[in-house]
Structure formats: C-alpha cells, structure tokens
Symmetry: C2
Amino acid sequence: MSQPGAALHLHLAAFAALSSADRKLLDAAVARKVRTIGPRKDIISEGERPRVVNVLLSGWAMRYKQLSDGRRQILSFFIPGDLCDANVFILGQMDHSIGTLTEVTYAEISATDFEHMMECSTRITKALWWSELVTLAVQREWTTNIGQRSAYERLANMFCELLARLHLVGLADGNSFDFPLTQNDLADATGMTAVHVNRTLQQLRRDGLIDLNNRHVTVTDPEGLKAAAQFNPNYLHLDGGVSN
Amino acid sequence: MSQPGAALHLHLAAFAALSSADRKLLDAAVARKVRTIGPRKDIISEGERPRVVNVLLSGWAMRYKQLSDGRRQILSFFIPGDLCDANVFILGQMDHSIGTLTEVTYAEISATDFEHMMECSTRITKALWWSELVTLAVQREWTTNIGQRSAYERLANMFCELLARLHLVGLADGNSFDFPLTQNDLADATGMTAVHVNRTLQQLRRDGLIDLNNRHVTVTDPEGLKAAAQFNPNYLHLDGGVSN
DNA sequence: CGAAGGATTGATTAGTCTCAACGCAAGTGG
DNA sequence: CCACTTGCGTTGAGACTAATCAATCCTTCG
C-alpha cells in the first residue's frame, strides 16, 4: 500500500466514488495522528472512555469481549480501511475491547476533526453512514452464523467474508490472502473450541475447498466454499448505495 | 401509553434530556404516517429496498434472517420506542427482514423528514447516533451470548436485557412484564431448539429465578438472574452520553 | 366439539467439548 | 551452536450438552 489512506479510500469507494476533494479531506483527517503498535496489544480496552475514531491503516485487529471467567468472544476483525465505529466518542465507555492481531498502524481522528469532515462533505457523511450500517450488518451475519450454522458452515462463511472484504481493499491476490489468525482466534470468533476448529479445517481441506498453512489461505474452490457456507454477500452491501 | 411518541421520548431520553422543541420535532416526524399491522407479518422483507425509517410505537417486533433451508435467526427484538436503523434508506436492499410478533403500530419517517430532523437539532442527531451505537452494542452482546454462553446463561441474559430495556420505556412493572414470545421464538433468538428452551426454562423456574406463563414474565430473583447470566448492562449505555 | 398452536415429556443420537498428550518450528539464552 | 522454551497445530479417547424425533397434553378459539 503506497499511501496510508489508500485502503480507506477503497473501503469507502465501495459505497460511492469520492471526489478528489473528498479524498483530500480524508487524507488530512487520517494524517493528523498516526500510531504504530505491536501485535497482541489493546488499542482500547473495555471500560475506557473512547475519545477518538480509529481507522486501521495496516495490519489486522479485532473487536472482542472477555467474560469474567476468561471466555473470549471475538466480535469482528478489522482489516485496513476499516473504521472502529463512527462517533463512538458519544458513548461514556467502551463495552468491549479492540486489540491487535499483527503489528498495526492506525490513525486517530479527533471528535472535532470527525465532525468537521461530516459537515464538509455530504458524500463522506453518507459513506460513513454506509460504513456504519455495514458494520451492523456484518455483526448480524455473525450472530446468524454462530446461532444457526454448523461448525463446518461457520468456518466456510468466515473465509468467504474475509476473502470478499480483503478483495475490496486490494489485499487479496485472486483467491488467496495472508491470514494472521491462529486456530485459537478462529475458535473464539466462531464460538467453537480450537480443537474442533482444527478438525473442521481438516475437513475443509480434505474437501478441497481451502488451503491454509503458514498464515496464508488459498480458497481452492471458491464456488464450493460459497455453497458449503450458503454464503450470500448481500449483507456487505457492495452494490453501491442508493444515493449515488 | 397515552401518547404515540411517548416511548420514543423515553428511549432517547436515556441518552439526553430533550427540550420541548426536540420533543415537538420528534412528535411531528412520528405523526406523519402511522401504520397498524397484525401479528406475525413482515413490515419489510429481505431483498426489498428500504425507503423510510420505522419507529415502533406499540407492540413487539423482531429483526430476523431466514436461511434457504428454513433455519431462522432472530437478530433482535423491537419494543416501543425502538428505531429500525437510522438512515437505512442509504442501502440498496434489506439484508434481513423485520416482522411483527404482536399487533404493532409504527411510524414511517421519510428520508427527507429524517434528514430534516437531524439538521434542526444537534441534540437529536446525537441521540440518534447514540441509539444506533447502542443497537450495534446489543448485536455484539447477542453474538457473545450465543457464541460463549451455555443455554442456561443465554436465556438468563435474554430476560435481563429485556427487563432493562422494557423498564426504560415504562413497560415493566417492577420485575415483571408482558412477554409475547413463544418458546420457538426464544429458540430462534438464542440459537437453540424449542425443546431445549423448554427444558432450560424449567431449570430457571426450578432455581427460582423467573416465573413465565401466560405470556407474562416475572423475574422472581433479579440478583440471582443477573449472576446466572453474568449480566453486565454496560452495553446498553444507559449512563447518559458523554456530551450531556 | 374439533382443530390448532404451543408446551411438555421421553428416548435416542449427533455434534462438539474436555482433557491430555505429542509434534513441530521458531526463537532465546548460555 | 546447541539445549531449552514457547506457541501453535494435531491427535485420541471419553464425556456431555444440546439436537432430533415423536408422542402427549393443554388451552384457546371458531
């Protein structure tokens, strides 16, 4: 990625083509405060007060909740271009944590900068709303995934979603992509145990749907994987918004 | 509920006290187009294009997804005062359906009315953002609930959440409230089967935590229920926003 | 009175978890 | 440069939660 804001442009461009003025506005907001942080660290923890909007520029991160007895649910993955909740600073405290999976660079956008951005461009405002609505839709899909689908379908779905999203921001090379998650992470994201993830992955490999090793995934049979997952990408709303 | 918009006022007032001007603005938006619809009907179905923002005035509704093989995941419950996604009309099509559980009255707010309302009052705009962020937080909690908790904990959680939310809009009488869901609905909301819901409810009753019959719930041991659920209401963000 | 929807119960099975061990590769310190 | 540690993936055996299938009961309502 040659330029820090590139993934963000691509992310929002899924909703609407941005003008060069829009892009400048975004780049300015994203350039103000850039941070780098190592893998497996919290960017912000449950209970803290959110003061800024974070935008992921490179690396992978996750949203998660930890229960008092140690159980952890990963709620979503952040890939470059993703926003960690527009306007979160309205809330008094975080109800979950955001942590890194790899080394990560991210931009902090202050409340005033964020609001300024929304005042300056209706197109950006709508794109941010779109992004927020898609975040919600993804969360609903995860609820459905965990609530209704079998272990096999769940994992298939996860790979379908990640492939689609990574593709969007130019981080998938055809049907393959770098995949920094451990089987334990995958377990906590899908509501299963690491042992069962392991066995289910073997099944997916045996069925020739995916190839996963060395932190790299290749979807060897995209159509088969989609079918196994009953994957319907409508919830990603990549068809371009209504108001374009 | 003496007045149609009352639940909405109470809902938003959880974030910030509204001025009488704000209240008038809301009432006007909510009075423009009010509809009534019977139980077990769709208000809007997956695949349709959303054109308005719906606000529930009375009755219960749900958000759900239906898989091609008939499995259904209920994604959230709507009670009076709830908004069905601010700015949804930005999206090209619904990725899920919204259906009623009881007879329902709801208001349709057009895109222009909605945008007008946000332009007129920053307080309302923020309250709507708050509401949207809470919707997201609730969805995350449901993901966690289904992904990490046992059947027993899941149901306990559901009752804790509903009690808290109903209380907010004045629909809980102490620790009890009307509860129009069937065990089958509860099953589809928690990712279990109706049979297992039945058995788990019996356990909750035997443990003296709740009393459920005739479409009415009484939480007989609120503290016990919260403990069993490991219920932490922080995700409802009822502490009042930061910017008050 | 009969029909229908929902709640309840029982018996059996399947899917997933638990616990425990082992393998492998990469990294670290002496 | 080797011994040790550590993190992650893999395997096996057994236990248990929750699903499945099917029957029965209860209540409500036309």
